[in-house]
């Protein structure tokens, strides 16, 4: 049961949040211009990293804001919390 530091509300229990998977997956700007394989990469493929993952959480029972989390998927330690649009922070697990 993680303790997640909502960038807006502060530390709250995991029960108030929902994880929405990998962050920083940009939607192709011109979907028609990409191949089926590239489109599938965007829609379906995920890095699923063992180690540091950058993922999106939403504080859905709180302020309803989405934000990004850098977490070590082995230790489940949260290494950084940052806002959407923020740069992927360099972290060490």
């Amino acid at each position: 049961m993680f303790l997640i530091e909502c960038p807006w509300c502060g530390p709250r229990s995991q029960t108030e949040f929902h994880c929405h998977g990998e962050a920083h997956i940009a939607r192709p700007k011109y979907p028609d211009a990409v191949s089926d394989a590239e489109w599938a990469d965007y829609v379906f493929n995920r890095s699923n990293t063992k180690g540091v993952i950058y993922e999106r959480w939403v504080h859905n029972h709180g302020c309803r804001r989405w934000f990004n989390v850098a977490r070590d998927t082995v230790s489940d330690r949260i290494l950084a919390v940052y806002r959407v649009g923020g740069k992927r922070p360099e972290v060490t697990p």
Partner: protein, 1004 residues
């Protein structure tokens, strides 16, 4: 009140409060302050249970959580509980306990034949047999199942209450022994929010059974003083009878507090039986003590063979003498304490010490107490069945592998053994801390912490009281300081005088002079009947990984989770492999520390609180008018409103007919509603929906389909333009929350620059849908009729007006294909509006209709329900909704996926209508369609029925189906095979719109 083995004085029991209890039908007595185990021992009862596999007679091994043997069925009826550890059951008046896993009685257990055949039942025997004939396995299995299991589950629902409590604290201390109390004190004095929990009835831990002094007075006085100070300190919570059960990620811990279990009296209906604490701790101090290891010698499982520390506990804390003639068998100094205390209490005591020439204060003390010490010797066998009657003792060779010299028999009724101590590292390991093997202790101790946690006291390998106090004080101080508090002076550990102690000699399997497995058993895991020979067998067969060993032999898989067995098992495996213990490693410690009731974890979130039942403003009316309710997600919606004695089918037909021929009224409040505004709102909808939104006039409504990026439909609804930059979106009832999340996801993560705000207004509005040819009359009589004319108030538009004196938003939209007005009013007026419509409709025969009639009505029109007619594999084109997919507006979510091979192919399933050959036959929803019926499956399926009803308006049954190349099959005959063995039903493919194809009625 015989209590033959009760000492005349001492102990922490209350001799003024005798307590009567029953064990296996016999009435016995103990005192307040006893546990079931101490009271049984006071009465000379050693035989308490039967083991899992061999049904060997078993007694009480320990005085605590580690108990593998003395498991009883506690209480009767609805409150009965299996597998309760007798040493942890506090005695109360009227307590009823039964022994388990025996038939017909504990003394004469028929299943004990398993013991006779035990030679044929080594570890894993079932993997090797019961295979032939294959058909017999289910029979064998029944027998195996009946022989296994321990106690019995209750047959009735649990009558008790369970509460939860969420708390946050600066420092949580697990364990209230000297280390834990000292830590709590140090942390409390810094001003931190502190919780200290101990699973026992009293704080004090081992001090409750110890005879040492702290700071010059009895340890118990020190405990009392600390307890008082903690109690008096603000924001310090002291929790006795509370087990720290689980240590989860990010310092989240669960605690089980037994609030009334010890009282015996039935709970008063408001006090919880147990309270489950969910704690977020900034810092944790683990002070959980140590658990004594049994020695592994032949027939070490006989009742009367106990852990030495436990014996000490029974003597000192409970004033019980577990035996009058005791043999203390040890490999370390600690058991001398037990020997001395036993002797002082009047028992005849002999010590068998595996070590040669042990020396030190305790040995001296024992000798001066007149206790005979046989050094370099071992108990090599135990006599007696249902209780120990004697032991054989032999000298061991230098290495400890073989007996050397003759054997000496001694009569005794108690064997107190000590194989050393294992720090209780369970919680530490659960927190992902790394262990280290300490050769001196021959045990695993905490090494590197992972969480914000520190261990103190004997769980940290400190085996002297002074070290425990010192570590406790330091841990409390540093925990508080790491939580941001300054330590106050005066929290140093008090002084204690202690004997010097010597080293331990590890002999993992005590030889008996015979090969292992012959003539007696060396038990490791008492509960699961795992012996040293089983470990050898596992090794021989290649199950050498400690994890394989565990699973093959089931060591450590019982209710005690191997608290007394795991280290012995892995040490033996290490020896067999010629490896060191740390090389072999441990199995994984998992929560909980001791078993936790499911009811306690559920708390009060069961029965009606299991899941909220959401209701609309008109709910009470529906109930009063006899509505049968349907669960739609969390919502309770009227399904149909049967009149007296009416069957569902008749009620639904009546409702459906009324909605087409006169007027019907539906509570449509549950639909999701989202207010969307901002300069980019229309552009945003253009991306979210498949069709075009930029040019929708203000005041107009439009139907929309939403797709996921894979191109599949996931929600739909009507959206109305309230203003240039403002829309009101409706969603499906079940999809409301998901859709809002979906919109926010895109806005916040993909298009943060778009200026759009979304606000849920689902609950702001109560919605009354009035539908049918007289809808205008009914609504008109509540507002200005003239304003409702087909020209003044066009189909697919919205108006604000007062209805029945209530400010309302009225939509001319229709899910039934009938003339309809959907009136939205602030929720508080929902009931009033409904009543007003009801009154006004009386003269037109207004009929409330439920979700079933609504489904029929919309199916007559071929309108889909997302989630029923679609699953996650349906595109708009599959639904025949190509017209919903804008070709020119550019990109929208999901569009790119249409260009893929699969979505572009022409043999996809498409939405069609079906007519059964017999117009009265209603297809089962979910029925599959085939082109040709074969005498037996398999048959190739070409589609399935998604919706199916009897339609009184069409005058026959109708169905919707998803069918491969469906639109090209109009008029084709297909078959729907039945589950009940009846002949497959013949169906004809038709257009999915069965009524008013021109759409005249809705516009009228």
């Amino acid at each position: 009140m015989s209590q033959k083995f009760r000492l005349a004085e001492g102990g922490r029991i209350d001799r003024t409060r005798p307590v009567a209890f029953r064990f296996d039908g016999a009435t016995l007595y103990g005192y307040a302050g006893d546990t079931l185990a101490s009271a049984l021992l006071a009465n000379g009862v050693h035989l308490v249970g039967r083991s899992f596999k061999y049904h060997r007679p078993r007694g009480i091994l320990s005085a605590g959580a580690e108990e593998p043997n003395a498991l009883v069925q506690l209480r009767e009826g609805a409150r009965t509980e299996p597998n309760m550890r007798a040493p942890q059951v506090e005695l109360f008046n009227g307590l009823v306990a039964e022994s388990q896993n025996r038939w017909p009685s504990l003394r004469f257990d028929v299943w004990a034949v398993n013991g006779l055949f035990s030679r044929f039942l080594p570890a894993g025997f079932y993997y090797k047999t019961f295979m032939w004939p294959a058909s017999r396995w289910m029979t064998y299995e029944k027998v195996i199942r009946n022989a296994a299991g321990l106690g019995k589950g209750p047959a009735e629902p649990d009558p008790d209450r369970y509460e939860h409590r969420n708390v946050w604290c600066d420092v949580l201390v697990a364990g209230g022994g000297p280390a834990g109390l000292m830590a709590a004190l140090a942390a409390a004095r810094s001003g931190a929010r502190v919780i200290v929990a101990d699973e026992q009835a009293e704080m004090g831990g081992s001090l409750l059974s110890d005879t040492t002094e702290i700071g010059g007075s009895p340890a118990a006085d020190w405990v009392a003083a600390v307890f008082d100070e903690l109690h008096a300190t603000a924001d310090v919570t002291v929790l006795p009878r509370t087990t720290v059960a689980g240590y989860y990620d990010h310092n989240y811990l669960t605690l089980l507090e037994r609030v009334t279990d010890h009282l015996g009296a039935e709970p008063d209906g408001k006090t919880p039986r147990q309270r489950f604490w969910k704690v977020r701790a900034k810092q944790v101090v683990l002070a959980t003590g140590a658990i004594e290891r049994p020695l592994c010698f032949r027939d070490n499982d006989r009742p009367g063979v106990m852990l030495a520390g436990a014996v000490r506990n029974y003597v000192n804390r409970y004033a019980v003498l577990p035996g009058r003639r005791a043999v203390v068998f040890t490999n370390n100094d600690s058991a001398y304490g037990a020997a001395i205390d036993l002797a002082r209490a009047g028992a005849a005591v002999k010590v068998v010490d595996l070590r040669r020439e042990p020396a030190g204060d305790l040995i001296d003390a024992a000798e001066s107490a007149g206790i005979e010490i046989m050094d370099g010797c071992a108990v090599t066998g135990v006599k007696g069945g249902k209780q120990v009657t004697g032991v054989t003792v032999r000298r061991l060779d230098e290495a400890g592998d073989e007996v050397a010299g003759g054997s000496r028999s001694m009569g005794c009724d108690l064997v107190a053994m000590s194989g050393g101590w294992n720090p209780t590292v369970h919680l530490f390991s659960q927190s992902r801390g790394k262990l280290r093997f300490d050769d001196g202790l021959a045990a695993f101790v905490p090494d590197r912490s992972f969480a914000a946690e520190r261990s103190a006291g004997s769980c940290n390998g400190a085996m002297t009281l002074s070290a425990c106090l010192k570590q406790g004080a330091e841990a409390g101080r540093s925990a508080a300081s790491d939580a941001g508090f300054k330590a106050k002076a005066g929290s140093a550990a008090p002084k204690v005088d202690e004997p010097e102690t010597g080293a331990t000699r590890s002999v993992w399997v005590v030889p008996s002079g015979k090969p292992l497995g012959r003539g007696g058993k060396h038990f490791i895991d008492f509960q699961n009947d795992v012996t040293a020979a089983d470990v050898h067998l596992a090794h021989r067969e290649g199950y050498v990984s400690i994890e394989h060993l565990k699973r093959y032999t089931t060591t450590g898989m019982g209710t005690d989770q191997g608290k007394t067995s795991n280290v012995n098992a892995l040490a033996i495996m290490a020896q067999l492999q010629g490896a060191s213990v740390p090389e072999v490693g441990t199995t994984t410690f998992r929560p909980p520390y001791t078993p936790v009731g499911f009811g306690a974890i559920a708390g009060r979130n069961t029965a009606e609180f299991m899941d909220p039942a959401r209701v609309t403003a008109m709910h009470d009316w529906h109930v009063e008018h006899g509505a049968v309710l349907e669960d739609v997600g969390q919502w309770k919606r009227p399904w149909y409103y049967p009149r007296d004695g009416e069957l569902m089918r008749d009620a639904v037909n009546r409702e459906v007919l009324a909605a087409r021929n006169s007027v019907g009224v539906l509570d449509a409040s549950t639909l999701g509603k989202i207010d969307i505004q901002g300069p980019d709102a229309a552009r945003f909808l253009n991306m979210i929906y498949t069709n075009a939104w930029l040019k929708l006039p203000v005041g107009s409504c439009r139907y929309g389909l939403m797709l996921h990026e894979d191109g599949m439909v996931f929600d739909d609804g009507v959206t109305t333009r309230l203003g240039k930059n403002r829309f009101l979106m409706t969603t499906t009832t079940g999809g409301a929350a998901n859709v809002l999340t979906w919109l926010e996801e895109w806005l916040q993560t993909e298009w943060p620059k778009m200026k759009v705000f979304c606000t849920s207004v689902t609950e702001q509005w109560a919605t009354v849908a009035v539908c049918g040819p007289y809808a205008r009359h009914v609504v008109g009589s509540l507002t200005e009729y003239d304003k409702l004319g087909p020209r003044d108030f066009e189909f697919m538009t919205m108006r604000e007006m007062d209805v029945a004196g209530i400010p309302a938003r009225v939509f001319r939209i229709s899910f039934t294909g009938e003339l309809a007005f959907e009136i939205n009013v602030p929720r508080r007026y929902g009931a009033a509006l409904w009543e007003a419509v009801w009154e006004a409709g009386q003269k037109y025969g207004i009929t409330p209709y439920g979700t079933e009639a609504m489904h029929v009505l919309r199916a007559e029109k071929g309108f889909i329900i997302v989630g029923q007619d679609t699953d996650g594999t349906v595109t708009p084109m599959d639904l025949g909704m190509d017209w919903m997919v804008a070709k020119t507006k550019g990109d929208f979510i999901g569009r790119r996926s249409f260009a893929r091979e699969d979505t572009a192919r022409d043999d996809r399933k498409q939405l069609v209508g079906l007519f059964t050959e017999d117009p009265h036959q209603v297809l089962v929803e979910g029925a599959q369609l085939v082109e040709a019926v074969k005498p037996a499956p398999p048959m190739r399926m070409v589609g399935h029925v998604t919706s199916s009803y009897y339609s009184p308006n069409v005058g026959r049954s109708i169905a919707l189906a998803m069918l491969i190349r469906g639109r090209a099959r109009m008029g084709q005959t297909l078959f729907a095979p039945r589950l009940d063995g009846g002949a497959p039903l013949e169906v004809t493919v038709t257009d999915p719109m069965f009524y008013d194809r021109g759409g005249v009625r809705a516009r009228g």
